[in-house]
Symmetry: C2
Subunit: 419 residues, 2 copies
């Protein structure tokens, strides 16, 4: 089964809006084992839209469209599918009643232009859209399936997950795909490649290796006729990977992020965290606050980079004067100050970027990351060539992976702390 995605809307061709729907759908289709062969963006032009949908419906088993289901005369997806199918649109009483109800609930009358959102053609069924006014269309003919979905990401993602994905999965019976992603640190890509060389020869599950910002990922993909069978294929491979590289080299699994993992570890240990950031300017703290459960563990964070500003936060000015703010000593003292400032069990400090290296000791562009906990402290360093968000994001990832390692080491030593 192979699919084609059409993203519809002139604004996509003006570069004003980045089309995220097509990559969302592409990654979701991959999970169903459906190959995506084409993605096309086309504007609200009747003839070009016809050309695109007509060609897609002829060459692909499934055509998925996003956008063009609104009420205005620019929204042409329904009309064009009707033209491709050679069928007539007719207003459906039940859809119209539902639509009028939505407007009534919002307290104003439905504009007449919205009526077309209550139409279908004979080959189409309506797909519920609880997030908006436009239902989708599921069009099924001998030539293949056309699924029309709305453009706003929250509408299309809800419709995909609850309505479209289950129906397509049912059309593709006997194919279950299960993936397992192990996220590693501390061993190079080449090292893992060598250690796991036998496993890379396996065809099902297929093992892939991916170098990501948060470490080297090992992803196993198994295909079978049921989810259970696919999972059963993956289990022995995972056990073998863990045996060979060791659990210590794996910091997280599947959807875990360095942020979510660090918060989970702290929460499991009943520890609180404070951070002081120089180079990363608040990004570490901000990223941690995106984890749902951060409230219980993140006491607070501060960002400053000048000597005096850092001293005001409780960092030792004498230590900065002696070693420089971009030093392991300062980073560890920032971590200590972060604990004290926020009354936290664990502190993380990210030093400013070293700007020059007159004495040859520190390479320009180096930032130091310090960790502190109850009398114990440690630090790492990384090289960050620019201040751009992506580069600072890398430093934040390093700080979090370092924290995970620091917490694990700590917990090995203290009898009250679990692994």
């Amino acid at each position: 089964m192979h699919a084609e995605i059409l993203s519809i809307g002139t604004e996509l061709l003006m570069g004003e809006l980045v089309d995220t729907n097509s990559s969302y759908l592409a990654s979701e289709l991959a999970k169903l084992g459906i190959e995506v062969r084409w993605v096309t963006k086309v504007g609200d032009d009747p003839d070009r839209l016809f050309e695109a949908i007509d060609r897609a419906s002829k060459r692909s088993d499934v055509t998925l469209t996003s956008g063009g289901l609104g009420p205005t005369s620019d929204d042409l997806t329904r009309e064009t599918i009707a033209r491709v199918c050679g069928e007539k649109m007719a207003v459906q009483d039940d859809l119209l009643e539902h639509l009028r109800g939505l407007f009534a609930n919002r307290g104003f009358p439905m504009p007449e232009t919205n009526v077309k959102q209550a139409t279908l053609i004979p080959s189409a069924q309506a797909i519920a859209n609880p997030m908006g006014t436009a239902p989708g269309w599921w069009v099924e003919r001998d030539e293949g399936i056309i699924v029309a979905m709305p453009g706003p990401p929250r509408e299309i993602q809800r419709m995909w997950a609850y309505e479209v994905s289950p129906r397509l999965k049912a059309r593709n019976p006997g194919i279950a795909i299960v993936t397992r992603n192990l996220k590693t640190f501390g061993i190079s890509e080449g090292g893992l490649d060598e250690m796991l060389s036998t496993l890379f020869k396996s065809e099902n599950p297929l093992l892939g290796i991916y170098s990501k910002q948060d470490g080297i990922h090992l992803r196993a993909i198994a295909t079978a006729s049921t989810d259970d069978e696919a999972s059963a294929l993956i289990a022995p491979m995972e056990a073998e990977i863990r045996r060979i590289i060791g659990d210590d080299a794996i910091w997280g699994e599947d959807d875990e992020t360095p942020e979510s993992k660090a918060v989970a570890l702290l929460r499991d240990e009943g520890l609180t965290l404070g951070v002081i950031e120089a180079f990363t300017g608040g990004l570490l703290c901000n990223n941690l606050t995106e984890v749902a459960a951060h409230d219980a563990v993140l006491n607070g964070g501060a960002a400053a980079s000048g000597r005096d500003a850092l001293a005001r936060l409780g960092v030792s000015a004498a230590l900065i004067d002696k070693h420089g703010a971009a030093s392991a000593e300062a980073a560890e003292d920032m971590a200590r100050a972060a604990r004290e400032m926020f009354g936290a069990d664990v502190g993380v400090g990210i030093s400013p970027l070293a700007l020059e290296s007159a004495d040859g000791r520190v390479v320009a562009g180096t930032s130091f990351i310090g960790y502190s906990m109850d009398g114990r402290s440690d630090s790492t360093s990384g090289h960050y060539p620019t201040r751009r968000l992506r580069i600072r994001g890398r430093a934040v990832t390093h700080a979090l992976l370092g924290l995970i390692r620091f917490l694990r080491c700590q917990s090995l030593q203290g009898p009250t702390l679990r692994r």
Copy 2:
């Protein structure tokens, strides 16, 4: 002149990589007055790639491709363009010498597979790529122009800006497009629509109105035969807009962001800033550190949300107990505490989100934003339904636009401060 964009690479169809090149190129082409009619993503499949390039070259004046110029057997863009043109690829001595030089500089020999990056067909000229090993191809035939560019964003953006855009501009002589974007606050979209109704009837310059997160934007686009003529068309319209809505309703122009404008205003006034954030968890501080010139004005920021953590930062616990942390009083006191904590002239405080409104005074989901400067303080509030990054980004934008307004008011009052 109309164009078509092809993004090439199987990874784009797997949803693993979001295609940002096509929206970059689309917005750049719009600036040249070249209409984009189609964007297609296609994988590294020889026949589908042939179908895509062949169709594009027949129906579009200009076909722009990104990706598929690497050295591996999966990289098929050159081979496919040669097939579409019915021409043979031949190694170019000068390109090969240059390529070997690049590898020699990196200190290792060139793999033989890279030789194909030194080939051309008779209709193609090489386009320099100082950011990578693969030169682009400029293919010119009676049927139209095909431009092949590399996939990595920094390579394609450099090549576009320095090589491709100037050549395409020269092909489209007598068309110069100048845009002017005025970013407003304080007047609703409907209000602006009414105040400027006469101007919206103008066809050249064409005036558009766009509701964005950082306010309502008024964008004038003028087309003429030279940039000077186009600018001359825009100037009287801009003057008329400013006369009607007033300069106070315009916070920024063109590429200015709330962050860059706030930093510029502070720098112009010689003022420093400190912030304490609860709801936004460090995002305001982080966004400010992305502005190149922030060092001179941003003394520091802190993020915390609990009563005790805020008290530790110098916020009055008595005041929080009396009014709640989610209150105008607390936000203004956070702003004062931010000034003191970071020794800054101006402070901004963003309160926690009100979680419930038992007494009916504060609506759940409200956050208060306080400003403080030398004895004067003020606050605003906004409604933020969730903690998602996008919503917190909205609060940060509100805080910055409020800061711009606060600084302007302040500067109206103090004789030493310029407008």
